[in-house]
Amino acid sequence: MSGSTIIFYLLAALTLVSAVLAVTTRMIFRAAIYLLFSLIGIAGIYFWLQYEFIAAVQIVVYVGGIVVLIIFSIFLTQQAGDELPKQKMGRQLFSALAAFCGLALVLLQIAQHAFVETGGEVVAPTVANIGNQMLGVNDGGYALPFEVVSILLLAALVGCIVIALKSKPEQT
Amino acid sequence: MFRETEIVKDVSSIPPFPQDAVQGGGGAGDLIINVGPQHPATHGVLHLVITLNGETIKKVEPHLGYIHRSIEKMCESLTYRQFIYVTSRMDYLSAHINNHACALCVEKGMQIEVPDRAQVIRVIMDELTRIASHELWWGAMAMDIGAFTPFFHAFREREKINEIMEETCGARLTMNYYVPGGLRADMHPDFQKKVKEFIVLFKRKIDEYDELVTGNIIFINRMKGVGMLSKEDAVSFGCSGPAARGSGVHCDIRKLYPYAVYDKVEFDEILETGCDSLARYMVRIREMKQSVRIIEQLIDHIPEGDFQAKTKAVLKLPKGEFYTRVETARGELGVYIVSEGATTPYRIKFRSPGFSNLSALDSMARGSKLGDLVAMMGTLDLVIPDIDR
């Protein structure tokens, strides 16, 4: 086993173990932190694949944005140190079933499709290439999805501001 | 209660902080925090229970008594010569002025004529004390706001005053220099020279203070419109001193009810009408300059003569009630002596400026941010032993 493989397995283990812990822990803040580790593990795998740009974006968006958002909502709603109540048996069974179905689906897909080596030339994932691809309007360009997503985000932002402005007069 | 004789073995027997005792607070989403008794913002053992909604203050409730020494009760068993020295420990930053108030009260009761020399030296000492106190306030307040450096700059000049005090009174903080009828000892031969040197230095340095802090945009933003205390409220809360003069209340005892030689010197009563923390800040800064002005007028004209009037060995105040008030660095200090004709006061009450000023804190702080609270406490210039007594 080469050093590179060991690193891969370590990262994969970090991702999986913290993902499992994130759903099994009954302390909500810890769950958020385990989720964070899981996301960092994924970013690590991107680094391992030498997709540095994707890895950095993964950290910026998920760690710097989403997890901080989750933590803030925990701060504003929860009491420190409280454990969540234990879930009912039925719910536990249902979620286990759902998780198993998801896993089965993924495994099925992997089993059905063979991984073929691409014969084409290797495209270096440099920033310039990513930029060209992202804003390209030619074949394989992502300009339209990019713009659609930004409009979606803009709509979400405007919605947030509207909600934030609305709740003010109610308090007083 | 934990007396010295009892040793607390079981930590769990110590009652918790009175979090549930807060009235009107504790609603949903409210956060109750204890600022003090050990907290960097309180400059002493003051305990504030603050109800917060987010960063916004809903209620401030002071809990006092951590340094209460029952000075009033103590004075009931001390003679009229002795009790003056206890008052140096009240507002330790204006020890001279506290002593002055007590000495004045005893002199009023005994109808002692204080020699001119003692009067003039007393006023110079009082004003030096005021400068020293305001300097310490300036440094400590800047530190509350987050600027550390002014503290050391202020202490550099305060040290000069302390040296002058040390030479003449033998002490640096709790001076005990005044006795009924005059002064305990004559001034040090170098006194005049040193005071003049200090004044020359200080006039230069006070402009430096303005450059360092007063003109700073962050500082002005932190102070302006913070801790509004309207003129009516200031009077109603019994505020006095710079805290009230920042709201435009004409309350300088040195002008209204002149004592010692304050009616013979020229100085201005500083009034600001901003009603906010910046106004209170400016009052103190400008007051230091007025104090310098008073000292300048007197330092070359200290009359010759006795420094102490001839008094009887045992002082006995006639039966009756005597009230004197002086202007300390924090405001109006009243001394109320009820005498039954004995060698000790029957009842003595110190109307301390800090106690009344503190009572205005709650109404000032409501609705402002937690960060503003330190600015307000800074500009009220609270000295905790003065409040607790």
């Binding site: - | 009175p18 006092l64 109603s236 019994g238 209340v249």
Partner: protein, 152 residues
């Protein structure tokens, strides 16, 4: 306003008051029952306007407790002293904290030190003494604390 003028004015407002002129300021003796309405008049009367309560305290004369209010006017600069004799066994007087806001703290101090009960005080709790203090009032003359008090 001079002492005499003040005296006539106050005699108009409260005929039951008794005066004492030995001290520096005019001393007025009122009964606890009269105090609240009289205080309101002192504060709001256009010729008196006593808006500055600069000292509020209590004296234990062993036979009775005497409340002492030092009042001043920031407009006319006159001072008076109000006294009210309370029953030592059950000292009670109306609170004036809604007339002069500073009275709130001073009354709390007098409450714990002398045990005077201020009626209608918004928040009559211990201020200086530690929580859970029970028993006697430290500033009364008969207070004994063998542990902490040193008798000279």
């Amino acid at each position: 306003m001079e002492k005499e003028e003040l005296k006539t004015k106050i005699a108009e407002l409260l005929p039951a008051a008794t005066f004492e002129e030995s001290g520096e300021w005019l001393n007025i003796l009122v009964t606890p029952a009269d105090w609240l309405s009289f205080a309101g008049q002192l504060r709001h009367d256009e010729r008196l306007l006593f808006d500055y309560l600069f000292c509020l305290t209590c004296i234990d004369f062993k036979t009775n407790l005497t409340m002492v209010y030092h009042l001043s006017s920031t407009t006319f600069r006159h001072n008076i002293v109000i006294k009210s004799v309370l029953d030592r066994a059950r000292p009670e007087i109306e609170s004036v904290s809604h007339i002069w806001k500073t009275a709130e703290f001073h009354e709390r101090e007098v409450y714990e030190m002398f045990g005077v009960d201020f009626l209608n005080h918004p928040d009559l709790r211990l201020l200086i003494l530690p929580d859970g203090w029970e028993g006697k009032n430290p500033m009364r003359k008969d207070f004994e604390d063998p542990v902490n008090m040193i008798k000279l």
